[in-house]
């Protein structure tokens, strides 16, 4: 180990190395070992093993932080492992595994089961690693692009499907555009600070007038780039199309993994390095948050495609999470983390049930495909009910505690108007979530359709997400404490 690559550097980077190694190895194995499409299920095992190794690496990091305290900085302040980063790493890991578990049946039915899929999942997660752990603009940007490029391919994974291709192209163009914005903002920040490290940037901006034109330009472009990534209005246009066209399993990954990773970066940037110039970016965030709740909710009401509906609902959720940043106190930040964790489980769960509806000849993506689900597959219907109630933020499910923190943070910081707006939108959101409930429980199927074929992976994933959604709702203490620890510095 030289001075360029110390033991600490290795310890910090190890999970990313593992993910990259296993990801690339999957691409190769696909050719060498499993030429027959039927055997490609084994690649899922490969993903699980890779994730298990990664989990061990994270676990060791967690144990180290637990016994030594503080955080672990590597590569001269380019990467950091702290409780905040680990919180997100665990979310990414669980998300990736769950998406992997539900994927094989989906792609087999669509006859598009290719091995590189699992590799791309892990490479995307590798990119996410840098978003949560990066403390230096270039590493962050490279991580962001690694994640984004994996997603461009994943969204267009149904090669024969026109909509999937269209979605991939739209996502690619708008994603590249937003990356450009972000890169522009980063370059301005570098210009201001003379360094790409976040701590230097923080020192540089804290001495400046927040309304300094160059700084303001940097803030605006960075904010715009990030709002694209978290699909907040008014930069949400790509989301409904990309969500609808992408394979449902990829939509789940996009809606949860990509969004959580972008939020990890957003919080580190805005609550950390750019915290001193809060007054300059705050109006932008407030505006984006209110617009996201408005557009997300109102547009979701009229959707007939479930994936599109959930896309708009995820825009709405982005608006709620941003409110935590608006409040900006420790409750607000803690609330963002709780919300993201809760959102990951309940949203994955909802997409999972939609995925399970996918059968030979039935896309299962229309609201009408949910009709009569209670008679057809009561287990799925009841889990879906729990996910939807949670998405609507009704206790005793996990979603309530996400909303609870956001409301509490707003009340504590005196944002009563915003709190009232957010409260009223809860009812609007409940309206469209209950359209799905109505279809499942009250309406009847139009025509007889074949029963669901549920894979073992889906059952397992459904159990994990459902149990988590209920557990966080009924015994939230350990989960809340985890979030609390992750933001305390």
């Amino acid at each position: 180990m030289s001075a360029f690559y110390t033991a600490t550097d290795h310890f910090v980077l190890l999970p990313a190395i593992l993910l990259a190694l296993f990801g690339c190895a999957t691409l190769l194995f696909d050719f060498w070992v499993f030429p027959d499409p039927k055997q490609r299920r084994w690649l899922l095992l490969f993903l699980v093993i890779g994730e298990a190794f990664t989990a061990v690496a994270f676990w060791r990091q967690q144990a180290f932080l637990g016994s030594h305290g503080g955080d672990l900085s590597a590569f001269h302040g380019a990467l950091v492992i702290d409780k905040y980063a680990l919180f997100f790493h665990w979310i990414f890991l669980i998300t990736t595994v769950i998406v992997g578990l539900i994927s094989y049946r989906y792609f087999e039915v669509r006859e598009e089961h290719h091995g590189e899929y699992y590799g791309l999942l892990m490479l995307a997660q590798c990119g996410m690693y840098f978003l949560a752990s990066g403390t230096e603009l270039v590493s962050i940007f490279v991580g962001l692009e690694t994640m984004a490029i994996s997603f461009y391919i994943l969204v267009g994974f149904l090669r024969a499907d026109q909509r999937s291709n269209e979605a991939a192209l739209k996502y690619l163009l708008l994603g590249a555009f937003s990356s450009g914005f972000l890169a522009y903002g980063f370059s301005l920040l570098y210009g201001l600070a003379g360094s790409t490290r976040l701590r230097d940037i923080m020192a540089a901006v804290s001495g400046r007038d927040p309304w300094d034109p160059i700084l303001f330009l940097a803030l605006v472009t960075t904010t715009v780039g990030l709002l694209f990534k978290i699909s907040a209005a008014p930069f949400h246009m790509w989301a409904p199309d990309a969500y609808e066209g992408a394979p449902t399993v990829v939509t789940a990954y996009l809606a949860v993994g990509s969004k959580a990773a972008s939020f990890a970066l957003l919080i580190r940037l805005f609550a950390g390095a750019l915290g001193p110039v809060r007054e300059a970016w705050l109006p932008l965030i407030i505006g984006a948050s209110v617009l996201s709740m408005t557009i997300g909710n109102l547009a979701a009401v009229t959707q007939t495609n479930t994936k599109r509906l959930l896309a708009y609902s995820s825009i709405n959720h982005a608006g709620y999470i941003l409110l935590g940043l608006v409040a900006g106190n420790s409750t607000g930040l803690q609330g963002m983390l709780v919300y993201i964790m809760v959102y990951a489980f309940m949203n994955l769960g909802a997409f999972l049930v939609i995925t399970a509806l996918n059968r030979k000849g039935i896309a299962g993506e229309d609201i009408n495909d949910l009709r009569g689900l209670m008679q057809k597959a009561p287990g799925h219907a009841i889990w879906m009910l729990i996910f939807l109630v949670s998405l609507a933020g009704i206790p005793p499910t996990a979603g309530f505690f996400g909303k609870y923190y956001i409301f509490r943070a707003l009340v504590e910081t005196g944002h009563y108007t915003l709190a009232a707006i957010a409260a009223i939108y809860v009812a609007v959101a409940a309206y469209y979530y209950f359209r799905l409930v109505k279809a499942m429980f009250i309406e009847k199927e139009d025509t007889e359709t074949p029963p669901l074929e549920v894979s073992l992976g889906t059952r397992l994933a459904l159990g994990i997400t459902g149990a988590a959604t209920l557990a966080i709702g009924i015994f939230p203490e350990p989960f809340l404490r985890l979030a609390q620890m992750s933001v305390s510095r």
């Binding site: 009704i394 206790p395 409260a423 809860v426 009812a427 809340l480």
Partner: protein, 517 residues
């Protein structure tokens, strides 16, 4: 046992529900038996509460405390005083009877139906026994989903509209109420340095009147929608009319009381200055009076039997809120007794509509007439329910209405005058309904040969009739149970009034004097 009594009462229906889930859906009769047993057990375990309740004691009894979410300061904290005791008993009794009354009328998706009913019982009991504000809120919201399904799946022709309307209205009220709760929670942390939702702790807060008023309005939206007070009542006729009979019974008898209970348990003691504020009292009383008169007048106009009963609820609940905001002993205890009475009599009226609907499948009043000749027993039961609802002396309704009027009269004579008008209209629409449906000759061929009450229906009506007569003849035990808690609330409002430097309004001072008298 004794120290966990409330938890047992709370979780008995839940235990019943969990077992129910394992019974196969095709075993309809087994499911019915089990659900009825669970509900009956729920009632039986609630009886010891009544026997062991010490009415001479101040404060809460059967208190159980357990740190549920320490990092937020949320506790599983339950306990009851006289007011909650009556509400819990009302819930267990009406829940049992409502479940029993569904034996024949519900034949589709039986398992889901009973599961929803039992879940709803848990939520309702939880609302009435929670002494932790967040716990209360969680139970409050828990009730929404089962009721949505009960209306939406087993309801009438416009069930989908009614179900979602009920759901959204109550949800939006609940969430705005949550903002008020969080404001108190945050203020407590400011003043005492720790977080708690415990209501006896929150009562120690010293809040400026302005803030109290804001929080009051946020609670008001939540509670007023639930009660429902005019002009938030529009969900009620739809929900009541479309719900299946047992759903309407529970909705009227118990669910609406969650709103009035909220005013009594939370708004008044936690925000005494705002509750006695002249503007707020005037607004609330005017809305109550408008509700009383408007509900009664609209009832007079109804062509639909069930809708008439639904609108009569708006009128009767107006009396309850009028009693609460008279802010004196008579008004408040009258209000609680009237809530019980409304549960009994309106519950009966809905059951009566249900009985005839099962036989004729129409609720148009003009389809009927002269039913007393065909179904004499039914006519007698209806007469008792109608008279109890109209407030005839020696029946329960009279006790509640009279005490409320007495309280209102002490507070302000004009209020009482308007409320008395409501009593007269109330008698008018009920008697006219009775005349149109029961008396005269049988004009409609289809009504000839309708069977009279069967034993199941008798079994539902008899306990309710007995209860109605018992309250009417000897209401003293109820007043005794209510005396201490109501006194404490009135005293608190009165003290806050005296302590505040702001000049007290005429109404509030008079209300305060009422206590010292």
């Amino acid at each position: 046992m004794q120290e966990h009594l409330l938890s047992i009462v709370l979780f008995t229906p839940l235990a019943g529900l969990l077992v129910l889930l394992f019974i196969p859906g095709t075993q309809k009769n087994l499911i019915r038996w089990w659900a009825n047993l669970s509900a009956a057990a729920g009632f039986l375990v609630s009886l010891p509460l009544l026997f062991s309740f010490d009415r001479a004691k101040d404060g809460y009894q059967f208190v159980e405390r357990f740190d549920w979410i320490p990092s937020l300061g949320v506790q599983y904290l339950v306990g009851i005083d006289g007011i909650s005791l009556l509400m819990v008993l009302l819930t267990t009794v009406m829940g049992m009877l409502a479940i029993f009354s569904s034996w024949q009328s519900i034949d589709t998706r039986v398992k889901e139906y009973y599961a929803m009913f039992l879940l709803q019982q848990v939520g309702m009991i939880g609302v009435f026994i929670s002494l932790d504000f967040l716990l209360f809120y969680i139970f409050w919201e828990l009730v929404l989903v089962p009721m949505y399904f009960i209306i939406g799946v087993w309801g009438g022709p416009r069930k989908l509209y009614a179900a979602i309307k009920f759901f959204l209205y109550t949800l939006v009220g609940g969430v705005l109420m949550l903002l008020g709760i969080l404001t108190l929670y945050f203020q407590y942390h400011q003043q005492f340095g720790r977080y708690t939702f415990e209501i006896t702790e929150l009562m120690k807060l010293h809040l400026p009147l302005g803030l109290q008023q804001w929080v009051f309005w946020s609670f008001f939206i939540g509670f007023a929608i639930k009660v429902p007070m005019f002009p938030f009542h529009t969900w009620l006729p739809d929900a009541h009319t479309e719900a299946p009979t047992a759903g309407s019974v529970i909705l009227a008898a118990v669910l609406l009381k969650m709103g009035t209970y909220g005013f009594i348990r939370f708004s008044l003691p936690l925000l005494p200055n705002a509750s006695a504020d002249r503007t707020i009292v005037t607004v609330l009383v005017v809305l109550s009076l408008v509700g009383i008169l408007y509900g009664a007048l609209v009832s007079l106009m109804q062509q639909d039997w069930k809708k008439l009963v639904a609108y009569s609820s708006v009128s009767h609940l107006g009396f309850c809120t009028l009693g609460i905001f008279s802010l004196n002993q008579a008004g408040l205890s009258g209000s609680v007794i009237q809530q019980i009475n409304h549960g009994i009599s309106t519950g009966m009226l809905f059951l009566i509509v249900g009985v005839i609907y099962e036989r004729r499948h129409t609720r148009e009043i003009k389809e009927y007439g002269g039913l007393a000749h065909v179904m004499p027993n039914y006519a007698i039961v209806f007469a008792i329910a109608m008279l109890s609802s109209a407030g005839l002396p020696l029946l329960n309704g009279f006790v509640g209405e009279f005490t409320i009027l007495q309280g209102a009269f002490d507070a302000n004579k004009t209020w009482a005058a308007f409320a008395v008008l409501g009593v007269i209209f109330g008698a008018a629409y009920l008697l006219w309904l009775y005349q149109r449906t029961m008396l005269g000759d049988v004009t409609n061929e289809k009504n000839k040969g309708l069977p009279d009450l069967n034993w199941r229906e008798w079994a539902v009506f008899l306990p309710l009739i007995a209860w109605a007569i018992a309250i009417g003849i000897y209401p003293k035990p109820y007043f005794d149970i209510l005396e201490k808690p109501v006194q404490a609330i009135v005293l608190r409002v009165h003290q806050a009034q005296n302590a505040s430097v702001a000049p007290a309004g005429g109404t509030a001072t008079r209300a305060a004097l009422e206590v010292s008298r």
